[in-house]
Structures are given as C-alpha cells and as structure tokens.
Symmetry: C2
Subunit: 296 residues, 2 copies
C-alpha cells in the first residue's frame, strides 16, 4: 500500500461519503471545487448547502506534497526534507437544532518514503445532548476500533476528550468521539491494517450520522432552539479558530483558506454572558458538556 494507492482510496472514500450523505439528505447535492497547490498536489473540495437535513456540509479530499517548511519541522518532531500528506475531512452542520454537528478527519502523512503515520478523529457535537444517541455513537466507534486493537477505543476516546475541549469555556465541544495521531507500525499493526482502520472509520461516518438523524421526531424548530443552535455554533467557531491544530496549522502555513474554513457554520451568534434558564434543556446540555463521561 503506497501513497498513491492510499490517496486514490481516500478520494473514493470522499465520493462514497458524499453519495451516502446526498441520499440521506434527499434534496441537496455536493458541488466540487478542484484546486492545485503551487508547491505540489491539490485537492477536491466538495460542499453542499441548503439541504433538507444538512444546512451546510463540507467533504474535502486533498493530496499535497513538497518541501518540509520550518513551521512543519517544529510540529513534526521527525527529520525529513520532503513530505506527502493526503486525507479526507468532513464537517456537517444540520439545519435542525435537534440534529447534531458531526466531524471526521482521516489522514496519512509520509516523510521522504521512510517515516509515515496515520491520524484521524471523529467527534459528535449535538446542540442538545441525547444520552442514548451519544452512547450509540461511541458504541459504533468502539466496535470498529476493537476489530483492530482493543486498546484503541479507550486510548483514542480519552485523547478526543482532551483534544475537543475549550479550556477558556471549561466545556467539551460535544460528546467527544475518538482522536489519534502518529499511528504507525510500532503499535503492532501493519500499514495495510492501519489504512483499513481509517477506511472503516470513514465508511462508518455516514452510517453513524444516519443513525443520529433517524428516529428524531422533528417539529418546526422554535425560536429558542434556533437561538441556542446559533450560540453552540459560535462555540464551534471558537474551537476551530482558537484551538484546532489542523485549522491553525493550515491557516498560518498558507493552506487553502476556503477548504480549511469550510468547517465554519452558517449563522453563528455570540451573546454576552449567556446563561440558559435553570432546568432548561439548554442548561442540561451545558452541564453535560462541563464534565467528562464514559459511554461504553
């Protein structure tokens, strides 16, 4: 499994996910933007807006290469003059506040055909936490992870709890998920197995999102629900711009702005010192996000 195969499979994964999401949405379809990177490589950024279920969605594929920059050197902790990186990134912002935001990223990184590693993450950000849905989400991640190594889920779940956290708010971004980086053969699995793990996570994504949406009985959203959704989207923006390593690295190192910031939501709002009413659904969600939880 070389870098060309991996990026070809990631591109297929992107198309597969888009197709599944279009089917789920039932109305909107993805547009594709193809771009090239001056230093080498490029990508296909697929976005959708104004769907029945998805208000704004982005599914991006890229495969880029070139000389290792000073900024990259600092972050990598490995020697090497040239790099290759490929991956798929997804963020879904649903229209209805009772549907969750969901994110995924799987990526492969290689330094001069020697060192390589995989990284990835999936996390779920409900506007309103539903414990049953959160548990179903984590159970699916655990099932896929356990097929490869039973140490993966607990380790990567804890990593996600640390990573998808807003220290300045004392809040988790959502109900977590899994996060991993620099995963290579030293964990005991072959390169092919690690790649298969990433592929399985990618293929799980639309299945799991469909489960999250299925069975949620929707009424026309109330003004209070929409206001809360806009505030939670504001938190999502804060996380991505202040804390998310991928976003910051991409922006500061001159990555393609529109592909990086496709993760930002439609209609976000900031209200000074907003505190939800005692015992409201909004307050219950906030309390939940202020602690760490085990789901399975």
């Amino acid at each position: 499994m070389n870098k060309t195969d991996i990026s070809a499979h990631f591109r297929d994964l992107q198309l597969h996910i888009c197709q599944a999401l279009e089917q789920l949405d039932g109305l909107a379809t993805f547009n594709e933007d193809t771009w090239e990177r001056q230093e080498g490589g490029g990508g296909h950024t697929r976005t959708l807006q104004g769907g029945l279920i998805l208000e704004k969605a982005g599914v991006a594929f890229s495969a880029v290469h070139g000389p290792v920059t000073a900024a990259m050197k600092q972050q990598l902790g490995h020697e090497g003059e040239r790099f290759f990186a490929t991956g798929v990134s997804i963020v879904l912002h649903p229209k209805h506040p009772q549907h969750p935001i969901m994110h995924m990223n799987v990526r492969y990184f290689e330094l001069e055909d020697s060192n390589y590693w995989f990284g990835g993450g999936i996390d779920l950000t409900p506007h309103y936490v539903d414990l049953e849905k959160a548990t179903a989400f984590h159970t699916s991640l655990k099932e896929v992870s356990d097929r490869y190594d039973t140490s993966f889920y607990p380790k990567f779940k804890e990593w996600a709890d640390r990573y998808f956290f807003l220290p300045h708010r004392g809040e988790s971004r959502g109900v977590g998920g899994i996060f991993f980086d620099q995963l290579d053969e030293s964990c005991g699995l072959s390169k092919d197995q690690l790649f298969a793990y990433c592929q399985d996570l990618g293929r799980l994504f639309p299945v799991v999102y469909t489960q999250q949406v299925e069975g949620v009985v929707l009424q026309e959203p109330t003004a209070a629900e929409l206001a809360w959704q806009a505030l939670r989207r504001g938190r999502y923006v804060e996380f991505n711009l202040l804390h998310d390593r991928g976003t910051k690295f991409g922006i500061y190192s001159g990555g393609r702005t529109e592909s990086i910031l496709m993760s930002l939501p439609p209609i976000a709002n900031w209200v000074y010192n907003h505190e939800p009413a005692e015992n409201s659904e909004e307050q219950k969600t906030l309390s939940f996000l202020r602690a760490t939880h085990d789901f399975c």
Copy 2:
C-alpha cells in the same frame, strides 16, 4: 500621574463613552458586570444589546495586577516579577449594514513601578466602504495625534495597516486607523502627555462614531445587505480569534472569557467560497480591502 490615577481616569473614560453612546443610540442602555480576578484586580464590563443603532456593544474597563507569568514574560521583552495593567476596550456592532463596526483600545502597562508604557488602537470596519467617511475618520485621528507629535499618525497608521490585516484572506479588516504599543518617554513626551493622548483618543471615539452614523440615509436593510453584513462579521471573528494578539493572549493566559469575547458579533455567517457579483457594492468594498490606502 501614577497607576491609581490612570486607572481612575480610564474608568471615568469608560463611563463617559457609554453615556455618549447611549445618547447616540437613543434606546438601549448599558448593563454593567463587575468581576474580580483571583490573582489581583478586576474590572467592569459594560454591554448593550438591541439598540436602535447598536445591535451589540461592549465597553470594558479593567485594572489587573499580579505576578508576571511565563507566557507574559515571553511577550513582554522586559524584566519584572509583578505587573499592573489597566485599560478600556470597545467594540460596536451596529444593526444597520450601512453603519460601520468600530473598535478602540487604550491601555497602560507597568512592571514593578519602574518600566511602563501605553498602547492603543482605533480602527474602523465598514460593511460597505465609503471613502468620504473613511477619510473623515483618518483626518480626526491625524488631528488628535498631530497635537502630540506629527510623527505619530503616519507611524501608527502604518502599524494599523499591518496589524488589522487577515493574511489568510489577503484583506484588511477594514479601512484601518491607528495602532501603537510600548509607547513611553523615550519618544520625547512625558508620561502625563502620553496619558493625555490616550484620553483624547478615548474621548474622540464617540464623536467619531457619531460622525460615521450621521447623515447616512437609511432604508430598511435589504436581504443582500444583511447577508453581506453577516459575512463581514465572520471575517471580524476570524481576525479576532486567529490574529488579534490581545484576544489570543487573554484567552490562552486564562483571562475572563466573556470580557475578551464581548468583541464577537451577533449573527455571523460563513458561506463557502463566496464571491460578490461583478461591480456590486460588495465587490467594490472587497477590492478596496485588498489594497492599502492613504487617506490624509
């Protein structure tokens, strides 16, 4: 003029500005939140929402002190074990897209009663650039600055052009203004004079904002204007969370989140790869922001 005097005058300045803005708005009034900082000092954060002219405004005063932290040491470039910092920060987000966003900050910093300096900045972010209004704004800043030192305006205007810039967008945040930091007696003015400069800038703020708003003939905003305002507010969020030194320093060093992020707008939006129509007012503004301009 010692630190106690300076912070007392800054607190007066805050109240003066709030009164002037309330008079301009004609409907909404400021609420005050008083807070204390565990390590020493505190502040009064004054916010307003839902005005006739101002949709969301924040005018914050703080006076904090304590041990110099490792993160501060790195940023300061001066030795000292204890610090004192006081200042006033303002951001106005108007309701109407034909009114501009405006920001100001004046601040005083002291290390162990020895080294001290002033810093500050005012900048104007119209949703639609009006060259006459931008020129009037810069002329006012130049007039006040020239009373102290004719080198201030050109130097601080250029500093603002560099500072209020989004490299990942290749755009200025707005039509600029002035920005300065570490201003002390080495510039040839006394501490009292430098403080008077900051005070004059502070008192200028509501006068200049009133000028910006006066004479703008308002119609009910169109859907296109509101959509553009939401996109420009998105850029404002990007600047503050990705680039603004004060915001990032405050957030990463454990400052009071709500006071720091009161600068964030109501209702911001992100649309993938948005480009305004050829020759539209939106496109003219965008072209203007993609270059640097001299106004006076």
